[in-house]
């Protein structure tokens, strides 16, 4: 198949795709797509390494592979030198298997004791491993996070992890494109998490299936890199294959000086190349969705899928299908009622969606001088060792501790609840993570997704509340 003629306007996605085609797709076979960076964690990789061993083949490019420990790892604070205590021997074995696989294949690992260790989608960007123009994959659906840098980044299964380990390539059909154009600017007290929840509510849980989303428009350009990562992170929650944002000066200055980013003249050369990574003005998308950011409010979810979301002061909608009715029954919410004042048992601040330094600052701003409501448990889990260190350097840990929250070690923690951090049956958890699926945070646990500010406000009030009230009080004080 001939490549597109040079004069045909291309989307950012087209440019990334075209630059990584080892062999183009035909009617009979998918394209062979080259992978620049393969991120690996302990949960989705052991069977892939076993598949290589069964065939007696090596890892093709350990230098393009980078591993960390995040999903099965405990986050309970430890004294210096104290060994981690796992939820189960299986969890420990999974971690040890990755350590062993990395040693054996020469793959760099940000393991226990490494200052680089963190949730894979927090770690990659902060080390500068994630760069514009790359293809990035990981056995994890939130790999779309890295799209915030103008990289084509998406989650894959374990068999495909094996393909990439063995060949540095994947078989892929070219997905369709969707542009989400966000006009206006976000009102005060409304952030990137609220924006992406509003986008998912509009598109639906499967609405972007088969598509790569490019987020664009003034409200997107105004976001910090952290905010852009939060937006791209949850693309999969609308069913999208990946999310993308064109890199700009915000991206470049964020990357400059990071450990694995190009240095000096090489950085300037890269910057010139990266500037071309944007959709041509006349480029066509298969679908276009538009939103006005200025009309948004802090968002919360009312159901058991991330698209079941609305403004924090909404009335719970009447169910329009059996699934919404089932979700409401699970959540114990009544159509027409307000969620404001709904009692909360646990608050979780963390995950690859919202555990970066800016997220912790946002929560700390609410918590400073206030206290977690007695009876409410609040966990604050930094996204990485670097985030933890930076947060401790500016005293955020002390704010959380003084307020009565638990300050934890980095990891995925209660987002996926497979390391022992979980809620109890029936509890209502306000969580800054990305999925409110029934039982995701523990059997019978009910999850309300929200921003760090909304979650922190819920911890203080002991109930779902509009965080802007507490922000105004900050301003007045």
């Amino acid at each position: 198949m001939a490549s597109a003629p040079q004069n045909k306007p291309r989307t950012l996605f087209d440019k990334l795709w075209d630059a990584h085609i080892v062999s183009p797709e035909t009617a009979d076979s998918p394209a062979i797509l080259y992978v620049d960076l393969h991120l690996v964690h302990e949960v989705t990789s052991p069977q892939a390494f076993s598949a290589l061993e069964a065939r007696g083949i090596p890892v093709r490019r350990p230098d393009r592979t980078f591993a960390t420990l995040d999903h099965s790892t405990p986050t309970t604070p430890r004294r210096k030198g104290q060994r981690p205590v796992y939820i189960s021997p299986a969890a420990q074995m999974q971690v040890e298997r990755l350590e062993e696989n990395c040693r054996h294949h020469g793959i760099p690992l940000a393991g226990w004791g490494s200052p680089d260790r963190g949730i894979v989608h927090v770690m990659g960007p902060e080390l500068g491993l994630t760069q514009p123009g790359m293809t990035i994959v990981c056995g994890d659906s939130h790999t779309s996070t890295h799209g915030a840098f103008g990289a084509l980044a998406f989650g894959i299964g374990t068999t495909e992890v094996g393909h990439v380990l063995a060949t540095q390539c994947l078989l892929q059909r070219k997905p369709k494109t969707m542009k989400v154009h966000v006009d206006g600017r976000l009102p005060n007290g409304v952030g990137a998490k609220d924006l992406i929840l509003a986008i998912i509510a509009k598109i639906g849980a499967g609405g972007a299936a088969g598509h790569v989303i490019e987020y664009a428009g003034p409200a997107i350009e105004a976001l910090s890199m952290e905010g852009r990562m939060t937006v791209c992170n949850m693309s999969i929650e609308a069913g999208a294959r990946a999310g993308l944002i064109a890199p700009d000066e915000v991206t470049f200055s964020w990357l400059q000086g990071r450990e694995y980013a190009p240095k000096g003249a090489a950085f300037e050369a890269a910057r010139l190349k990266w500037r071309a990574l944007r959709s041509d003005p006349e480029a066509e998308f298969d679908r276009v969705v538009t939103l006005d950011a200025s009309r948004l409010a802090p968002m919360v979810t009312w159901g058991a899928s991330p698209h079941m979301a609305g403004p924090v002061d909404m009335s719970v909608p009447a169910p329009n299908d059996g699934d919404a009715a089932k979700a409401l029954a699970f959540m114990g919410f009544q159509p027409g009622e307000t969620l404001l004042g709904e009692p909360v048992h646990t608050v979780f601040i963390g995950s690859c969606t919202n555990a970066r330094l800016s997220d912790l600052r946002e929560a700390a701003l609410i918590m400073a001088g206030r206290h977690v409501k007695p009876g409410v448990r609040m966990l604050v889990v930094p996204g990485s060792e670097r985030v933890r260190k930076a947060a401790e350097a500016e005293g955020l840990d002390a704010i959380f501790r003084t307020a009565g929250a638990e300050w934890r070690e980095p990891g995925c923690s209660m987002c996926i609840a497979m390391n022992g951090d979980s809620g109890r049956p029936g509890e209502l958890v306000v969580s800054t993570s990305n999925r409110n699926f029934a039982g995701r945070q523990g059997p019978g646990v009910r999850t309300v997704l929200a921003s760090p500010a909304t979650a922190a406000a819920a911890a203080v009030a002991g109930a779902i509340t509009d965080p802007r009230r507490m922000m105004e009080m900050c301003g007045a004080a």
């Binding site: 052991p46 989650g155 299964g157 495909e160 089932k326 497979m418 059997p443």
Partner: protein, 191 residues
């Protein structure tokens, strides 16, 4: 590596009518600490089938005989959520050999194909008709990409390469490994 080739699946069906059944429902995350394969049948839909204390719930899934019922009729957007390949592994270990749904999650679909699990996405009306006939025999045919049961007939599409892999029992890795020289040329061209 060779798998059992799949050309037709003829079996009775069972239905899960819910839409957006995510991979956390198919297999809760606390069962993802395995390092091997082939032992996830008990974990499949665990929290739908069992109470926290391990006693079985009164759920239709606990009455499915997978000796005779290997075709799952699932609601729209089945397998959305995480990329865990443990989802198709768990379904396979439970005894499911084909999933018929109006639409499945992208990553789930790719993972299923890599494990010999057939995912047939069919027209919602035909799907509804099959759900009406839950428990009846269904024939899923990869030769002509059709699903038939009684007078209900629907066609589905399958990515052509994945279809060949399913029908011949091949896995895709061998195909990419055979292109190593091309990959090396690509790497040389870019540096």
């Amino acid at each position: 590596m060779q798998r059992e080739p799949v050309r037709q699946i003829v079996s009775r069906s069972f239905a899960l009518r819910e839409h957006n059944i995510d991979t956390d429902q198919i297999i809760p995350a606390r069962f993802l600490t395995v390092t091997e394969r082939g032992s996830l049948g008990d974990a499949c839909f665990r929290d739908w089938r069992f109470h926290a204390d391990g006693s079985p719930k009164d759920h239709p899934l606990n009455r499915v005989d997978t000796q005779t019922h290997t075709i799952l009729l699932a609601g729209d957007n089945f397998g959305c959520g995480s990329s865990r390949e443990h989802a198709p592994w768990a379904l396979w270990d439970f005894g499911v050999r084909a999933v018929i749904t109006p639409r499945a999650g992208d990553i789930f679909k790719a993972n299923a194909a890599n494990n010999g699990l057939v995912v047939a996405e069919i027209d919602p009306a035909a799907h509804a008709a099959l759900v009406e006939r839950e428990d009846e025999e269904i024939r899923v045919d990869l030769e002509d990409l059709s699903v038939t049961s009684g007078n209900v007939r629907a066609s589905f599409s399958l990515e052509p390469f994945a279809r060949v892999c399913l029908m011949e029992g091949n896995d895709a890795l061998g195909y990419i490994l055979a292109r190593q020289e091309e990959i090396a040329r690509f790497e040389a061209r870019r540096t």
